[in-house]
Every structure is written in C-alpha cells, then in structure tokens.
Symmetry: D2
Subunit: 357 residues, 4 copies
C-alpha cells in the first residue's frame, strides 16, 4: 500500500466500554471518535487551555437551564472560578432565585393537558413544572428588594450584584446569584426587561413610583471595558440568544476603542440551533471570525447537543482533569459594590469607555 495521504494521519479510535469509567476518561475516549462526541471532548480540552492561559473567560447561558437542573453546575463554575463573567437571560436568574429561596421546579411530562395545568396554576417548561402562585410571590419579594435601591440608574451588573447580596443575606444558600455575589463575579443580563425579574421591578415601580432605572447602555460600556482592561478573552456559550451576542458585542465594541483587542482567543459553544436559517443563536464560530468576534487563529469548537446532556458530563470531567490547572489560575479580582466596577483595585471610568489615547 502506498504512502498515506496527508489527510489520513489521525485514525478514529473506536470507543471501548469498561465498567466504572470516570467521566473524564469517558471524554478522553471520545476525543478520537467523530461527530458531536468528538466535539464535546474537544470542548473539554479547549476549556482547559483557557484555564491555563492568562485570559478572561466569559460564560453565556440561554435556554431554561436553571429550571432544567443545571444551576448548581453554573454556581460551581462561578465559585471555583472556571469563569470570570456571566451573561445570562433573565429567566435563568429568576429560576435560580426561585430555588435559592427554597421553592422548587418539578419533573413533569411534555405531554400533558395544559388546560388542566392552567386550572391548577402550574406553568410548564417542556417536561418541567412550577407553581404560578410561588412565582407571583417571588415578584413581591423582588419588589421588596427594589425598595432597597436608590433613585438612580443601575446597570444590570450592579443591580444583580445587589440582588445576589440581598438573597445571600436572607437565605445563606448556594445558587448562581449568591455564588456570584460571594465570589464577586459580575453578571450581565442585557434582556432583563424580558423576564420575571423585569416584571418584579415594574411592579415595584407601580407600587411606590420607585425611581431606580435599569441602565442597559451602561452594561454595554462596562462589558467592553472589561475586555479593554485585559484584551485576552475567551467565550463559553450555552445556547444562543442575547448572552451569545452580548459576549461577542463586548469584544467588537472594545476593539473600536482599543486596537489591541482582536476577538476571543478561545471559543466554545454548546447549541441546538443550526446556522442555515441565518439567526445569531445558531451561527457558526467561523462566521464569528468575519466580524472579528473571534481571533482568526482562535481555538474553537461548536457542540451540537442539549446542554442537559453535555454540561453534566463536560464539567464532571473538567472537575477531575483541570484540577491542577485551576489551582494555579489567578482569576481577575473584581470589586462590584459600586456603580462602576473595579478590576484588580482599579475602577473603570464613569460613563465612558476606557479608550486608549
């Protein structure tokens, strides 16, 4: 047989079964198979590289991941500093708050008489149920929190830090918001108005004319300043939606004011949406390169899988294999208590980008 083509260098190694295999070894064996299994294994390696590099790791989450049972994984990622900044939909933070306050989501069925559910005030998220009455009670709790705010604009980043603090002081329980408060990890929620947290804030305004404003334009500035302060960044995204785009936007906006910024150096996304309908949620990381959202030589991988399948395996594996790297990591230290955040003791400028020149 003649010499092999340069394309035929790394053989596929069939996965072999062995009882008792730990998660990290399952993923290790998946590195040399094909399709999305290989991609998931690659995602682990890329995340490890992010952790070993001196970069800021943004983490985006969309989809009903908190209701769906993944919130303690995200809390773990925050507390152990696998990530440096969270961008989330409002729903994921609201459902986290719901559980941190001691309420629950429930296992249900995707095939159910929805009129019967409505009659019992039960809200369905595919195969998961929650009590509408408990949700209403959350809104009052959020309104009570809003009453503690001053009459001025708050970025969602500052607001969510205060919310995490308020929640921690009351509950002393772990969750996404409380872990982020305790670890001083910033959370941005660009579409907060499209969530029950926003609804709770609107009810506060109705009741007492509360004049705290949510300053979402301030979030754009602060997230870009985060990139400018350390242009070496990475992106981990679950689902699409506003978190995926907002993380990329931070990089693009930062580059406008600082040409050292050149797109994320690492990117991994776990998505179920597809590119061919043109929406941003399913867009490929190749496409992101054309926009400069990604460095041209970035290491990247897309995993086409449901996060409830992929994330438990991925993070269980990382928790073993990245232990040493993580221990050596020196994550950014934030001060999130004021209207403008400080990084490693140096605050960002007020109301403006930290432009060079």
């Amino acid at each position: 047989m003649k010499t092999k083509s340069r394309f035929l260098r790394a053989p596929v190694e069939p996965f072999t079964i062995q009882p008792g295999l730990p998660a990290d070894e399952v993923l290790a064996r998946m590195e040399r198979i094909s399709f999305q299994g290989r991609n998931l294994a690659t995602a682990r390696r890329i995340w490890e590289k992010m952790l070993g590099d001196d970069c800021t790791i943004f983490f985006g989450m969309a989809g009903a991941l908190s209701a769906g049972g993944l919130r303690m994984i995200v809390a773990h990622l925050i507390a152990e500093r696998y990530i440096d900044c969270l961008v989330s939909t409002g729903a994921n933070l609201y459902h986290d708050l719901h559980e941190t306050r001691g309420r629950r989501h429930y296992q249900g069925s995707p095939i159910q008489d929805d009129a019967a559910l409505q009659a019992e005030h039960i809200d369905r998220v595919y195969d998961t149920y929650a009590s509408e009455d408990e949700f209403v009670e959350n809104d009052e709790w959020i309104a009570a929190f809003a009453a503690t705010l001053e009459s001025r604009p708050y970025t969602t980043r500052e607001l969510l830090y205060k919310l995490g603090e308020y929640l921690w002081k009351e509950t002393q329980r772990d969750g996404i918001l409380t872990a982020a408060y305790r670890a001083s990890v910033p959370i941005f929620c660009p579409a907060i108005a499209d969530s029950s947290i926003g609804m709770g804030l609107s009810q506060a305004r109705h009741h007492d004319g509360s004049s705290a404003y949510v300053d979402v334009i301030g979030d754009i500035i602060e997230s870009a300043n985060l990139v400018i302060r350390r242009p070496r960044t990475a992106s981990v995204v679950l689902g699409g939606g506003t978190p995926k785009n907002f993380i990329n936007q931070a990089s693009v906006q930062a580059e406008f004011y600082d040409d050292r910024v050149g797109g994320h150096r690492y990117a991994l996304q776990i998505v179920t949406d597809v590119p061919h309908f043109g929406g941003a949620s399913g867009s490929s990381l190749e496409e992101a390169r054309s926009w400069g959202k990604l460095a041209t030589d970035a290491e990247q991988v897309t995993v086409h899988a449901d996060a409830t399948v992929a994330l438990p395996l991925l993070v269980s594996a990382l928790a073993s294999s990245a232990q040493e790297t993580l221990a050596k990591r020196k994550p950014l230290r934030f001060d999130l208590s004021g209207p403008v955040m400080a990084v490693e003791g140096r605050p960002f400028p007020k109301l403006r980008f930290e432009a060079r020149t």
Copy 2:
C-alpha cells in the same frame, strides 16, 4: 366497508399542479395536505380571522430577517395595518436602518474564507454580507440622533418612534422604522442593549456624556397597558428570542392587574427551533396555555419553517385573500410622540399599570 371512524372525516387532498397559480391559491391547495404545508395554510386562515376580529395584533420578529430580505414585507404589514404593535430584536431594526439609509446587504456564500472577509472588513450572516465600515458609519449616525434626545429616560418604544421620525425626515424612504413612524405603530425592543443600536447609544454617551437613559422597565409597563386597554389580543411571531417572550409577558403581566385579560385569542408562530430542549424560542403553543399566555380555546398554529421561505408566500397570499377584511378593519390609533403613549386619544397612566380598581 363499514362506517368510518370519527377520526376519518377530512381526507387529505393531494396538491395538484397548475401553471400560473397565484400565491393565495397555492396556499388554498395546501390547506388539505399534511405536515408543515398544511400548517402554513392554516396560518393564513388564522391571520385572516385575527384581522376580522376586533383585536390587537402583536408581531414579533427575531432572526436576521431584515438583512435576509424580509424588511419590506414587515414594512408592508405595518403600513397596511395587518399588525398593531411590533416587538423586534435590535439587529432587525439596525439592519433596516442600514438599508433605509441607502446602504445594502449583499448576497454571499455560507462557505467562504472568513479570514479573507475579515481582512476586507466584511461581516457575514450565513450567506449574506455587509460592510463593517458602513456599520461603523451608522453608529456615528445613531450617535448624532442620540444628541437630539433630552436628558431623561426613554422607553425603547418612545426612542424608536423618535428614531423612525429622524430617519424619515432625513431619507423619506420606506422601511420598518419609517413605516412604523408614519403609521404610528409602536415598536418595542426589549433587548436593545444587545444590538448595534445600543452600541451607537453607548458611543454617544462616551462622546458627550449624553444622559438619555433607555428605560426598559417602562416598556414592560407600557406593553402590559396596551393589553389592559383592549384585552382581546393576538400574537404573530417569527423566530423566538426576546420578541416571542415579551409579547407573552405583556399578556401575563396585564392579567396580573386586570382579570379580563385571559391570554392571546389567536397565536401563530413560524419557528425553526424545537420544543424538546426546553428553550422558550422553540416552546410549543400548547405549553403557552399552561402559563395563561394563550387563552385555553385560542386558535393557534406553529409552522416549522424558515421565515424566508414561509413569509413571502404567506403574506403574498394574505394580500389577495384578506383584502376585503383588511379594508373593514379599524385598527387602534396610537399617539406615540410622548413619554407615555395614548390609544384612541386616551393616554396611559405615567409610571404605572392601568390597573382596574
């Protein structure tokens, strides 16, 4: 042969080919086939019913529909009052603005060397290209617009009305923003911070300390008041994302303050996402019933199709078959020029829900 089962009443009628068939007849023949073809035909019938009923029609759009060539269909729906209120992602409004200002998007290929595109400052959206330099110039234009605003909070609804006015006065060209301005149709953009319009506003703040704030909590109140004012509503949604949820949220929030509100009476969605991963974008209209987002007896249909295939055929057909119904329709008249909108001459309350009692 014995008597047929009650389940076997309406036979599938195979579609027959005839040259020269107009769009509305194509859809008429699709009503008695199966799968998504039938659903698209049903969507036409349900939209006709909305138009013939005395209800407020919300229209949501997510996905790169403006860049993808559908913006003049949406402008048509607004100008002809097939719809009463638009909820959009920021990107769709930005790309509309881009074209109304005389710039273009370009037909490209989904398989392209993205590094080469980046080198030429070309941004790719699947198979569609745009000039990054032109985008940068838009941002300056938006900053100039922002300089005309007062130092106070603006809902996105008010802000986008002003933007449409500014754009119309400069260009006198049709598009989504200008059609909405001219027809006084409100536009909400709950995730404006996650878009280039938001980026433009943030740059305005950087340059001149502009103190106009975007008041997204105000949008929640105003959109709910719209439902309270006339609780009979309908929902037409393209894609998922924030528009889909925001339209449902308006109904849920309104019901909290007015028990005449009982969910949308009609709902149609054209989506490519699927329910089984739990995300709101792909969630079914059955699930929406459990939340009270939809009336229990609402007429509804989900069409699983790309909007660039479905919408041209659907609206071309409607333009013929709904002509008479549309002529008789008496759409709500809005005054959108102030911080609080007025409907049929009666303004909404300031900073609060129009609660009964």
Copy 3:
C-alpha cells in the same frame, strides 16, 4: 466611500408584496433574498437548467410524502417528464397505491390519544391518519398481484413496472405508480423489504409458496447501467434515506466501470436533516463531491425545508417558467417490460454492468 469589495457585488433585494402574484413570480422575487428562501429559488433555476441540458434526471423521495398530499405532484413530474427515473421508499409507493385504489388518508392532529386511535385501528403519521383495516386489505391485493408473477427473480424496477401496470388496468386512475407505468419511467425501491409492499409480498409467499424473488442486487446493476448509458446525470432529492444514497451509489458504481462518468452535473436536495451528526440523510452536497458523487463543478443547492412547504411552490413555479424548456426536452425512452430494461431501443446486458472495454 471607497470602491466596494469584490465580495459586495449582488445586493439583497427585499421581497416586496403584491396581491395576485403567481407562484413563479414569488420564487423569482425570492432569488435575491437570503437563507433558505434564496435556496428554494435557486433550486428552481437549477432544475430548469437540468431540463434544458441533455441529461438524465434522477428523483429521490423519502419521508411520508404520498400520505402527506404530494403524490400527485410526483405523478405530474413523471407524466410531464421533469424527471427520468424515480427512486423511492416503499412507503411512498404503498401510500400512493392506497389512494390510487380509492382509499384515502385523513387530516388529523399531531396531539391525539394514540391508544384511542389504536382502539379504532387508525394509524397515525404525525397529523395524518389512515385506516389499518384498509391497509390490511391492500396487503391482500398485493398478494393477488404477486400471484401473477413468474417464479424467478425480479428487480424492484421490473416488479414496480408490473405493479403499476396491474394497478392501472384495474383502476385507470392517476398516481405515482400508474403515471410511471404509462410514461415508462423506471422506479427503483432499494429498501422494498422495509415497507408494506414487502409485507404484502411476504404474505403471498406464506400463502402459496410464491417463488418470485426480489432481486435487489440486480437493481444496483441496472441503475448503474442507466448512468453508464448516458453519463450526464442530475439528482433531485426530497428527504434523505435510501433514495438519496442509491442515486449517488448508481453514479459511483457506474464510474467504477466507465471513467466517462464523473458524478452528477446538477444536484438539488430538499432536506430537513442536518450534516453535523454524520448521517447520510443530512449530508451536504459539498461532502458528496469528495466521493465523486457530484462533479467538482456541479451546480448544486440544498434547501433546508419541509417538502410539503417547498415542493408545491417549487413545482407550481416550474410549471410556468419551465414550460418552453420542457416542451423542447427529449427525455430518454425506456422499455421496462422485461427483466432487463432497454433505453432508446437498446437493452442493457443481462446480469452485468455495461462496462467499457
């Protein structure tokens, strides 16, 4: 503004609404938009080119298209010779036979109590129902047909020609099988054993020890000979499955025996499956090039859409715009009455490939 990039040549032209637009004009306007709408319009142009070129057009169909209301479109494509050879799943031919025999499929709901359906002997295909009892009666009819066969091997191509003849003589009704019989268009069904036609044949064997064999290996030879006879070929595929692969296999197998064969010159597929899970059904036409299934310079397009949405519009448009081209077309003339087909009067060799040299 500086000279435009070479990438920015063909602007997207927004689709504009006009009442009364015929199907072919709807597609014409979709040619300059984006995403799958543009792809569907491109599919029309490519099919027109096939018709105007001197090539053999293979047509594959998988998915429940006959039950779903598309069988008369396929019958039209056969009768009018938009296509030269059909490759189908067994189910599509069986459901066609069912309707040609005067039975019907019925419009149903995708959300139904399936135990109730089973209790009434109703089989569900998503939102479409059929009577199990009528299906059972079809099987007896097929067994009666099988009794007319000789005790020897039949390719599915010959068998289905005989079946079409038997069906036409009894019913004098249009459908896929009868149209193919009357127009002498060959049908291959490589997975006939995985269908109710196969079940009917197995019951015939049970009853009378019928010794007609289905010779599926003969189908491989005959389909490749079809390509060898005229190496200029085109492929139109709805769905994936065995038809998609079998059409490509014919080309690959033919090339093995005749180096003039170089893959399909034109290819269009309408699929809902995606490439990234590695299955052949969703595989891209780019990938097909690596195998030589497609000529390197073939014109090709993939449309990601449900056939029940795409096909009615596509063929309605073609019926107008391709009329002239079609009238000039000189399709291959087949004699299908014997164990080995003849093309333009010249029979294929028996039991072997028509290899050069």
Copy 4:
C-alpha cells in the same frame, strides 16, 4: 402555603459536580434534571428493565456510527448479549468490515476543500475521512467472499452470518460482524442493496455471473417469526431509517399471524430527527402506539441527541449498573448456520410465517 398540586410531586434535583464521578453516577444524577439529560438517564433505566425481563431485544442502528467510532460499543452489546438481534444499514456493516480488516477511518474536518479530497481519493463523512482506494479493495474482498456462496437465495440474515464467519476466520479480530458471528446473534440488513456490501455483491455477479440472490422478502418472514416465537419484545434504536421501521414492521407483521403479539413492551430511541415533518425516522413513540408497534402500556423514551454523545455515556453506565442483571439474563440461543434459523434448537418453518392457526 397550601397543599401542593398532584402535578408537583417530584422536584428537579440540580446536578452537582464532584471530581472522579463514574459514568453510571453521572447518569444517576441526570435522572432528576430535565429535558434530554433526564431522557438519557431514563433510557438507562428502561434498558436495565429490558435486561431483567424475559424479552427479545432488537437493536437498530442507522447513521455513520461505525465510521464514527461506535462499532466496538455495538460489538460489546452483542458479545455481552445486551441485545438479541441487530438491524443495521449496510454502511455500518461495511465500515465495520473495513476496520476489522485492518483499515481505518480518520479524524478530519467538516470544513475542507472537497475537490482536494477527491483528488486524493478520500471520501468524507462530515468530519471523518476514509481512503477510496481501500474501499475499492474491500469490494474485491467482498466479491471473493461472494464466490464462496451457493447458487440460491440467501436472506441478509444468513448472508451476514456467513460474512461474519468468513471475516472472523481471516482476521480473528473483534468487530460487529465478527462478534455477531461468534455470539450467534442475527443481523438483518433490509436495505443491503443501498450500500457498498450490495455493490460488492453486484460486482461479484458481474465478474462470474454469481447466482446467489439476496432474499429480502425472506428477511421479513424470519424477523416476524422471531417475534412470534417470543412475543415479548423490546426495541432499542439509534437513528431512524430502515432499521427503526424494520424492527417495528417485524412486530406488526407478526401480530398479523399471532394475536399474542401486541407491540414492543419497551422502546428507547436516540434520534436527532424530529416528528413534525412526518418522516418515520423522527416519528414519536406515541405515534408508534397508534400502529400497534408499541404496546399501549409500553415503557418508552426518546432521547434527542447525537449517538456519538449519548451512546458512550449510556453504555459505560450500563456496564456498571446492569452487571448483575446481565449476569442473570438468559438470552435466546440461535442457530444461524442454515437458510432458516433455529431458536433454542427449534427451527422456523421454511418460506412461511409460524402462524398460529
């Protein structure tokens, strides 16, 4: 708070991260989350129940699973008798044979210049490559095997047993075909004509007029007889295509001749296709009930995931948790060496169904 609704009984338990977690514990923790993660965990429990029950387990595989690195998992399932009968596409058996013969598939990229691949005779399956020249050489090997066959009809079941035997004698290597030969587990391949194995057989016929016929109708009879012999059955399906339907068809056909047969008692499918386009590949297990393919009270679950992600985790977990159950299992013993198989020493009837009269 008032008494909880009957719908709110089983809370979602957020997945918690722990280093070193074995695969079966990862799945155990996924049982109480939501969406496809929960479904995958449920799949494990249902498979365990199958193993503990006295039933015949059919296993279907479609999609490029052998090329993609899963063939040794399937070989393990056969050798350890997690399954009793395999139904496969031809490609999966061909790619298995390729590797058992010592050739390899290679890790590649989904974004590659396919013309360059073609120039080097490399076939691409998404992100996986293979040598076309090696494939051609396999075909000759298959032709050599075919020369050992007698001049009579062979079911694919018998043919594949002989092929496994021939392959084992030559290679003494593990793989799907050789494991099935050694464990006497029957393999059916209803669409063998749509694969390279079929191509190899057709080339054998070309060369030497080989008169072995593939008797796919015989497969229908034999697979149904397998169900009639023990009507308690279960179905495990990866992907859709012909294997999924053939396994269901065996049950439906068997019920026609024996009313003790009442559909599979357990069913699990791992699919990426969706139900709403009407195709059988994506069809739901609820729909299968209407046809009687599934018992009305069957335990069933659909996992929407790529098999390369789901199967390694699922079978790694089973290998631990099902060890004891598996050890007690008494799987059916087959004799596959003749034209008609024998089960537990009793052969099936020739050319007919084992009907109860």
